[in-house]
Amino acid sequence: MATKLKPVDVVTIGVGLTGTILAKELADTGLKVVGIERGRWRDTDPDFAMPGVHDELRYVRDKELMQDLSKETITFRNAMSETALPMRQLGSFLPGEGVGGAAVHWGGLTWRFLPWDFETKSKTLARYGAKHVAEDCTLQDWGVTYEELEPHFNRFEYLYGVSGKAGNLNGKIIPGGNPFEGARSKEYPNPPLKTAYSSALFAKAAQSMGYKPFPVPTAANSRAYKNEYGATIQACVYCGYCQFFACEMGAKASPQTAVLPALMKSPNFELRTLCNVVKINLDSERKRAVSVTYVDSRGREFEQPAELVLLTSYVLNNARLMLLSGIGRPYDPVANTGTVGRNYAYQTPSSVTLFFEDRNFNSFMGAGGLGLAIDEFNGDNFDHSGLGFIGGGFMQAGSNGARPIEVRPVPQGTPRWGSEWKKAVGKYFNRNFSITIQGACQSYRANYLDLDPTYRDAYGLPLLRMTFDRHENETKMSAWLTNKAAEIAKAIGPAKMNVSPRTGKYTIVPYQSTHNTGGAVMGTDPQTSAVNKYLQSWDVPNVFVVGASAFPQNGGYNPTGTVGALTFQALEAIKTKYSKRPGALV
């Protein structure tokens, strides 16, 4: 039986990017906060220390920093007609495990979604009409606008010390920045990173074609930076071990570098690691969360009562815990009713790889987000009339640190092994770079999350079941975007190039991106959203579900910057509204 603990004000389920910020800010208001984390304590020293952290096998193949699937995974199928089977090993996406979550091994790219992204449905219908959108597309507005989120984007960028260049400062277009971004009230806190050779070639070609390249905003900090919590994030040294790795320098902003130093000093915060929350307990009317049940590393079960429950784990587990706890109505794709698990979406990445005979790019150097990008083909920045799709993506070229187990592209047609393969790998490892495209992904009726009927986790609870495939809108978009990238590539003039649009069925096997979205989406209508514009559950108002689980569909950017803004959106609502009058805010 569970041991009942002394009540606290706030529990965060998960102590990653969103949980640490909410815990810090609420603890500062005097509330007693307990952070419950299923993984272990991890910090720059000693966990990410040199030289052991520069070990590709351990961090990339064996996924040192990522979720332990032996305890819990998901099941996956492309369509409802198939039987979902467990994701036995990580591939397509890489959720984190342990303090800091996926924000320890992330790539650092910190974008603001476009103003259009938050009003995708209404703006698309207004410009192109209903016929332009696929019938089974469950496109919807977020219930919050870019303008409302702007101060929250600022807060997050200044907390994480993001390096970048403003392109639209209070409505004024600034040369060198992204002219398509929503108006920002402040410049980035840190200047852009240095420019890699590949970025310079890409930018020159893009400029010659009339595009406006700008530095990718990234939380790999360009200089040592002290944030509002007094934490210092160090300067990046371009070592190339960034995404999938933890930063030995403390130069990639993360909960460890930006928030935890202050949070761990707070007398109002208590961290419990190696504790796995298995349920949020509701009152008899299922209108109020009374506690969470968790199992610790000694197998002991505890019940932690709390006034406010913040579901701050990864996207997938946010949806799963709601389903396991009976919060909200599970989505039924046949009847098209219910909200929890609805509008699961992903990303549609593609690339063009350029191979050169005589140019060396020192591909092993770099940083997460080190690159120059263009945004001409993102969101609704271009006319989609007659194209047969909506959405787009940013494209960029840069140097993010190639390591030979994971990144060793060879020209198409090269055998997979043998002498010819060996020659090609030897020749091109440092003589290639890619233009990569972060294609958006819309939501559809048949793409959703629910509980698996067969497979269970280590605690005997049903696994989350993912039903997902790419739709015609995404494959058409990917073909079109990748072709645009190939035009730029041709202008650069490589000896050979691989043009790789995203085609065919979605597969769980190769890595694509850890940009899972949806499942507990935000909106204005409780019939089509699980949480309101403050990330508050419509059904159980003392539960807030924070993360990319709230995205109604995914945009053409990495999601973290927008996750950061939504975190502050929820925080402000809790601090200024909910604390005065606990209950439904909408």
């Binding site: 590709e56 032996s70 039987t83 089977l85 150097m365 030979p404 997979r416 393969w421 269970r456 769980i508």
Partner: protein, 265 residues
């Protein structure tokens, strides 16, 4: 368990024996005092060689012979340098199969295990260790039936034919899907060729030298802006740093020794 334990002991003894040069074995006899220093040095070299040639923990001698032959096709020794066999990839695979990778640590192993679609990925009830055991046995059986000999005793051309047959799905195996086994072997071979030498492969950093990868990174803050200038350094491994063979800066980054002073040209 008992069977494989005994085999491991025999393998380990064999591996050690094979690694000690004939000269070193002779040194167990009494030697003239004047030769003591020389003898000691030889002894140290032999001990170092034995330490580098790690005993096999999982693979049988039959399996070692199979893998030595197979990986030498996947990444052959040629004018560019050592291949997978010379780089110790068989030893790497042995270590991997004996450890967490081979036993599916951190992976979901509960059934049922229907084969599923290609999009659903790995669905075998077998661990990688068991897949190697079954795949090597099945492939050798196929070779015996087809050529009258196990894989390692075939000619290079025949071996190539068999590997292409596994890769292309022309050969069917009994206990595991041929392509599934082949893809695992190929992936692990590449990993062993490029992983830090601490895992037993990439011996003498052969893989890193082939592609121009410096291993443990240095600070590249200045060099990142030297566009088009190749950075050619002697690769540094994790052990180079922990054993203090390589120099490090105050944050523990390698201080690379550059391969030529024409790096700026």
């Amino acid at each position: 368990m008992k069977e494989s334990g005994r085999r491991n002991f025999l393998k380990s003894a064999a591996a050690l024996g094979a690694a000690i040069p004939a000269g070193a074995a002779a040194q167990s006899k009494p030697a003239p005092h004047a030769d003591h220093d020389k003898q000691h040095a030889q002894h140290m070299r032999a001990a170092t060689a034995a330490a580098q040639q790690r005993p096999y923990m999982f693979l049988s001698q039959t399996e070692v012979a199979f893998l030595d032959a197979a990986v030498s096709h996947l990444i052959p020794k040629d004018e560019l340098g050592p291949g997978a066999k010379e780089a110790g990839v068989t030893s790497f695979i042995d270590q991997q199969l004996f450890g967490g990778y081979g036993t599916m640590a951190k992976k979901y192993t509960q059934g049922p295990w229907p084969e599923g679609t290609p999009q659903q990925g790995y669905q075998s009830p077998l661990t990688p260790a068991a897949i190697y055991r079954a795949g090597i046995r099945d492939t050798n059986n196929y070779c015996r039936k087809t050529y009258g000999k196990p894989f390692d005793a075939l000619s290079r051309a025949q071996q190539d034919e068999v590997l292409k047959g596994l890769d292309g799905g022309k050969i069917e195996l009994e206990q595991v899907r041929a392509q599934f086994f082949f893809n695992m072997l190929l992936a692990n071979t590449v990993e062993g060729f490029f992983a830090d030498p601490v895992y037993g492969g990439n011996r003498d950093k052969a893989g890193w030298k082939l592609v121009g990868f410096p291993g443990v990174a240095a600070v590249y803050t200045t060099f990142i802006e030297k566009h088009g200038v190749p950075y050619r350094a002697q690769p540094v491994s994790i052990a180079d740093i922990t054993q203090k063979v390589a120099q490090v800066d105050e944050h523990g980054h390698a201080i690379h020794v550059m391969l030529d002073d024409k790096a700026g040209v």
